[in-house]
């Protein structure tokens, strides 16, 4: 039975697949898929390196503090950071009184609700609070940034590339030297959006947030070039997405070392036990 029906079923699927293949091939020839502006002009993130790259890399706390300052002064106007709590800033090297002050002075206040009176109000943030949500009424939907570097291919490199990748669309050419607006005249960036080849569909509602050198004044004396600010905030957002990165790698090495040792021992024991059986 199986040997009779098996081949019939197999041939049935094979013929159905051949039919799909034939139709697909016919369509591919008669109506080739038109090239899309995203496929031709979207760019992969720039290859830049961070202190936390690789199996030995760790966060640079000074850089994270600078990045936090960028978030505080620039990004937090539109973007939430709701997975992160003020108390977590201790990992950046802030002391408890500093964290209390940052929480208390944070522009957006914590929302309160009195279940007895039904009154809603607000109070200053406490270290135990998460960063309060940011509501944005303008065009576009600024995503929460807590996990942004884990939610995008390229992580920190993507954020850096996006922040430094704004370009003038008129006359923009890709690596092949093709001019975007000549090849895709319909793809002109609509009013109110901004052209950025590192963004998935090339046009985003956010204008370049880091517009000029010195936009933020760093307290550690680092010169706040646009490139530096973009790097710092990308590092900071890698920390917000993966705050346990340092601990993870620090734990990983001893575990790996132990396992290699144990495996070598296990190998010797195995050889030992099998010695008279080969």
């Amino acid at each position: 039975m199986v040997r009779l029906f098996g081949p019939l079923v197999g041939l049935f699927f094979a013929v159905a697949l051949f039919w799909s293949f034939g139709n697909g091939a016919y369509n591919a020839i008669t109506q080739p898929t038109p090239a899309t502006v995203e496929a031709e002009f979207h760019k992969h993130p720039k290859e830049i390196s961070f202190s936390f790259d690789g199996p030995f890399g760790t966060f640079d706390r000074a850089q994270l503090q600078r990045g936090f300052k960028i978030y505080q002064e620039v990004c937090s106007n539109c973007h939430s950071l709701k997975q992160v709590a003020f108390r977590d800033l201790a990992a950046l090297g802030y002391k408890e009184p500093e964290i209390k002050a940052i929480a208390k002075n944070w522009g957006n206040k914590a929302q309160t609700f009195d279940p007895k009176t039904g009154d809603r109000g607000e109070r200053p943030n406490l270290p135990a609070d998460h960063f309060p949500p940011v509501y944005y009424a303008g065009q576009g939907a600024p995503p929460d940034l807590s996990l942004i570097t884990k939610a995008r291919h390229g992580g920190g490199q993507y954020v850096y590339s996006l922040l430094t990748g704004y370009a003038e669309q008129a006359g923009y050419k890709n690596e092949k030297g093709e001019e975007l607006l000549k090849k895709f005249p319909d793809a002109k960036t609509p009013d109110g959006l901004y052209f950025n080849p590192y963004f998935a569909n090339l046009n985003l509602a956010m204008p370049a947030p880091l517009a000029s050198d010195g936009q933020v004044t760093y307290s550690d004396g680092t010169t706040a070039t646009v490139d530096q600010m973009a790097r710092d905030v990308s590092a900071f957002l890698t920390w917000t997405a993966e705050p346990k990165l340092d601990k993870r790698k620090q734990t990983g090495w001893p575990v790996l070392g132990f396992l290699i040792f144990a495996t070598v021992l296990a190998y010797l024991a195995k050889r030992n036990i099998w010695a008279d059986k080969h």
Partner: protein, 430 residues
């Protein structure tokens, strides 16, 4: 149940003797995975993967039970509760990464175990029941893994749940009501998330039960071996313990090293960035794919792009995807060649390697966007997949001339077997 020369369990300590009379559990373990189970002496490292799969299941259950202490199966807070595990729970990040990558390790091990079975025809009589139970375990694993991936309630979780339950809507007449019944609604929401959590917790224990049956069935004929020649005499076997416990211990070390590298140094390598975006029913990710271990089957699902006579393409894809696994159930009766091991089946071996390449190609295409040339490649590869199992295997197994087999396992290992001389008049049969 076992060979006559199997060591007998002899408790030494008076307490163990007492226990042996009242509850002979130590005897049971001794006979199952101890000195009382004689195993062919020539097993290669491909035979490590059964034990490793068992270990992987235990790791998943342990990390999973612990994660369930912190996870909240509610559509409103599930995503945040996972982040709570990652940030605030002591060692929560490690436990979650261990569970997520543990699933991948489990599938790596089980796929190796299955392809070991393909190559050595481990499914052939008298071991069909072991094989059938193994396919059941694999189906349960797929269901468990799928529901587990829904729990973090990210974009891939949500759209994975929607697309996979959408498969059932391809069934004529009852399809749409069936999908709504599965989800407890019109789209994945709280009801679906809660039942997936419940089943995701339950199924691993069902898997554990089927594994007990799988091992039980294994102990009836005993383990197969790389020559495919059955055990004939005591010199063909060694006791499971200490020989194979030691060998499995070494294999386990290598397994854990790879696992550790993934968990501590590349925990998101096999995941998808979109699942770090909270579920949004209003927006589908640009490129939705399941986890890597489903890619070959996902490629088969997507390979059907045209209606076939009166059968819609969608239904064909669903039928083919399920058939791709169901066909394994019939394997013992599709491959009827007298010789088991691929080592002695030259033609079969060539097609086996072709199948390995074919499944890798399917896997690659399943992970790639649904665009050319991937769709056309996956159509060819799917075609080979079905032809391999349903047409090529039956033909090859009837026309192929196998190479001569060793007389016994002892001969295969030591080069000579004095029994072979004695029984030289009787032909060696596999």
């Amino acid at each position: 149940m076992s060979f006559p020369w199997a060591n007998e369990y002899k408790p030494v300590h008076p307490f163990m003797r007492y226990l042996d009379e009242r509850l002979p559990l130590p005897r049971f373990v001794y006979n199952a995975v101890g000195g009382g189970y004689p195993v062919p002496r020539n097993l290669n490292y491909m035979w490590n993967f059964g034990v490793l799969a068992g270990v992987a299941l235990v790791l998943q259950i342990v990390t999973g039970v612990v994660l369930a202490m912190h996870y909240a199966a509610n559509a409103g807070v599930a995503f945040d509760s996972v982040e709570h595990i990652m940030r605030d729970v002591n060692w929560g990040w490690m436990l979650r990464y261990a569970h997520a990558n543990g699933a991948s390790m489990f599938f790596i091990v089980v796929y190796t175990h299955i392809f070991r079975g393909f190559f050595y025809s481990s499914y052939k009589a008298p071991r069909e029941m072991i094989w059938l139970l193994g396919v059941v375990i694999f189906l349960l694993m797929m269901a468990t893994a799928f529901m587990g991936y829904v729990l973090p309630w990210g974009q891939m979780s949500f759209w994975g749940a929607k697309v996979i339950t959408g498969l059932f809507s391809a069934i004529p007449l009852i399809g749409t009501p069936l999908q709504q019944w599965l989800l407890g609604g019109f789209a994945p929401d709280n009801a679906a998330l809660n039942r997936f959590f419940s089943l995701h917790f339950l199924l691993p224990f069902v898997i554990l039960g089927v594994i007990v049956l799988h091992v039980w069935a294994l102990h009836i004929p005993g383990s197969s071996n790389p020559t495919g020649v059955e055990v004939k005499q005591e010199s063909d076997t060694v006791p499971f313990h200490p020989y194979y416990t030691a060998k499995d211990g070494f294999g386990l070390g290598l397994f854990l090293i790879l696992y550790t590298i993934l968990v501590f140094f590349a925990p998101n390598l096999l995941g998808h960035p979109d699942n770090y975006i909270p579920a949004n029913p209003m927006s589908t990710p640009a490129h939705i794919v399941p986890e890597w271990y489903f890619w070959p089957f996902y490629a088969i699902l997507r390979a059907f792009t045209s209606d076939f006579f009166f059968i819609p393409a969608k239904l064909m894809g669903v039928l083919a995807m399920f058939s791709a696994i169901l066909v394994w159930f019939f394997l013992p009766w599709l491959d009827t060649g007298p010789v088991r091991s691929g080592h002695y089946r030259p033609l079969f071996r060539k097609f086996f390697y072709l199948l390995v390449i074919d499944v890798l190609v399917l896997g690659y295409c399943g992970g790639a966007p649904a665009a050319e040339p991937y769709v056309m490649i996956s159509q060819i590869a799917s075609m080979y997949y079905f032809l391999h199992f349903l047409v090529i295997l039956p033909i090859v197994s009837s026309i192929e001339t196998p190479q001569p087999l060793p007389f016994s396992i002892t001969e295969a290992v030591l080069g000579k077997d004095e029994h072979a001389v004695l029984s030289a008049t009787s032909p060696a049969v596999a």
